[in-house]
Amino acid sequence: MATLEERTQRLEDIEAVRRVLLRLGESCDGPYDADTFVSLMTKDAVMDLMEMGVYRGRQAIHDFIAGLREHISFTLHYWCGFLIDIAPSGTEATATWYGMETPTIEGRAVLGGLTHDARLRKVEGRWMLTHLGQKLHFMTPYDKGWVKERTIPPIGS
């Protein structure tokens, strides 16, 4: 049976993880702030964007995120529905959430619907991502909708 302190710590950790993830999303609200983005990740973090590629380590992740600036001039990341689990160790966590986004890609309004997942580790009292993943449900031109055109071609192609 957990002590009151342990129970409080768990609730605080859930809130802290949520804040780190929100900060991550906010760093991508145009223009993409790659420095802030990778500062929330461990050195050996992996970002798996499926059809958009897998990026290992801060440098590769930084380069990809910074590269998005050329193509995406504006976005708002509406992240919600956070499901956060703190492991019994208190130093590992997993999270899933829903994301809606409104990017302007190559001068076109696009509507994105995604789900995200992450693994985090508590390093010197600070939660950091070790893994970030996503599933793209749609990334549709605003004037089309996800039935007529579910996803635009990969950025930069």
């Binding site: 009151l4 919600c80 529905g81 829903y98």
Partner: protein, 160 residues
Amino acid sequence: MTTLEAQIQWLEDLQAIERLKLDYVQALDDGLCGARPFPTDALMSLFTDDAVWESNIHGRFEGHEAIAELFTGWAERLSFARHFTIGPSVDIAASGAEASGHWYSWETLTVEGRAIYLAATYDDDFRKVDGRWLIQHVRSNIIFRTPYESGWVKEPFPQS
């Protein structure tokens, strides 16, 4: 239970109820996106035995069998669904074993091959059974269910 312990319990209960709603939403979305077999068991395990599901459009459904049939019926007509849920505002009764919650929902759906935006609010009741929170009553108020091309002013509910 000390006041401090009661406060912590309240916060944990709030957390648990948020999770419960999200578990429901995720399982339903997966099923409506084509997960087979349809996750009926996973969904029903989140409801009390005397569960009720109702909305201003669909009507009222009582018990696991009727509710499961409602969901699997949707799965035949929908090929895609994502519920973006916002909230909740949760009230937990003094007993600590009953609660109600209010949510906003923004849904992107594909219904019989048509892209639909659905906006709804939910008022749900929950009960704690053997230490676990379960959904007892879902009340969905659908505000609009508009074809993507039209929007809620032109066509708040599909004409055809």
